[in-house]
């Protein structure tokens, strides 16, 4: 198996690659982004992919949306960022609106459908909780991290205090803790 990777040769190739990520991303985009860019088209190495995703998780914004901006920029500058972003979102944008319009049509007269969709929503909420536990169980071994998680959750989740208050405050506290080696 050869390990050589090469960036996309044209904006067209970049667009089609991101289009195929967006088109197939049932149940989460990240696995498909990996599959298309690292395995199928071999645009970048496993390590580059992980490093880029690390940056995008750190930055505000949708992870995969940021990845399209950053990778597009590295390969083709501003044009690359725009083309990759539009390729990624073009089909999912249409699909989500069509799906929602269909749903709104049927749900008006069909209480069972509403119950099904509410159940899907509750399961989606469960996926968030599961994700938080998965990410949190490693870092929560540190008492300071556990206290931060609890305080933020009580403030933003239970207390419904605005994120514009919670985020700056908790960032200051967390950064001070991290510099002292508590996190």
């Amino acid at each position: 198996m050869s390990t050589d990777v090469a960036p996309p040769k044209s904006l067209r190739e970049l667009f089609l690659g991101f289009l195929s990520i967006g088109a197939r991303s049932f149940g989460g985009v990240m696995p498909w982004a990996h599959r298309v860019m690292v395995e199928e088209r071999r645009w970048l190495t496993e390590a580059d992919f992980a490093e880029t995703i690390g940056l995008c998780q750190f930055l505000p914004g949708p992870n995969i949306g940021n990845a399209s901006i950053v990778l597009g920029k590295r390969w083709f500058g501003v044009a690359g960022s725009l083309v990759a972003f539009l390729g990624l979102f073009a089909l999912p944008f249409i699909w989500v609106l069509v799906l929602f319009a269909l749903y709104a049509d049927f749900a008006a007269t069909n209480p069972t459908l509403r119950a099904v969709v509410t159940g899907v929503g509750a399961a989606g909420a469960g996926l968030f909780i599961g994700t938080a536990v998965k990410l949190g169980r490693v870092i929560a071994r540190r008492p300071a991290a556990l206290a931060l998680i609890a305080a933020c959750f009580l403030a933003a989740g239970v207390g419904r205090i605005s994120l514009f208050v919670v985020l700056p405050l908790s960032l200051v506290v967390a950064f001070a803790c991290a510099r002292r080696g508590w996190l």
Binding site: F100, G130, A140, A145, L167, A174
Partner: protein
């Protein structure tokens, strides 16, 4: 005037989402509580139940889950709202990513970068947890929604199947418990 009211809503939504974009560390899950607070509690554009259904459709549809913002925009101001919501939600953070990319690579081994990464991790965890809690509690606490959410979280932690199966199972449970 209805049209005028709509235009005002559209401007408010766009500006608010642009601000939200800049604090969306951790992506859609982290800002969901804040988005819900604004469009449901503060503005009253959408009911809590509608918000949950928007979320459910957005989760089940393929694509980045930031498109939930587009559905909120669609609900508030139609197609223009959906498009503007997407670009408002992604634009400011995209510009930031564009600029930070070089710095990020340059400061690869800096202790500041490492401290910042460690500082953000617990906050993102708490915000994702908050998003899950709020979505599972759209009105008064309902044990049936909590049961579905808890079963899904447990299933996800214990197995490696595609998350779509959990959404499907949640739908079936919903039909029996809530129908």
């Amino acid at each position: 005037m209805r049209a005028q009211g709509l235009a005002v809503n559209l401007v408010e939504l766009t500006l608010y989402f642009m601000l939200l974009s800049l604090i969306s560390v951790g992506g859609m899950p982290s800002i969901l509580p804040e988005m819900q607070r604004y469009v449901v509690d503060v503005k009253g554009w959408i009911t809590p139940e509608e918000f949950m259904q928007i979320f459910a459709v957005g989760q089940a549809a393929p694509g980045p889950n930031i498109l939930i913002a587009s559905l909120v925009g669609w609900k508030v101001a139609g197609l223009a709202g959906a498009l503007l919501a997407l670009f408002a939600m992604c634009g400011p953070s995209a510009v930031l990513a564009w600029w930070v990319d070089d710095l990020w690579v340059r400061f690869k081994d800096s202790s500041w970068r490492k401290a910042a990464q460690r500082a953000i991790a617990p906050i993102v965890v708490a915000l994702i947890l908050s998003g899950g809690f709020i979505l599972a509690t759209p009105g008064a606490p309902d044990w049936r929604l909590w049961l579905i959410a808890a079963a899904t979280a447990g299933g996800m932690l214990l197995s490696k199947v595609n998350p779509l199966w959990f959404l499907a199972a949640g739908g079936i449970l919903g039909a029996f418990l809530l129908g």
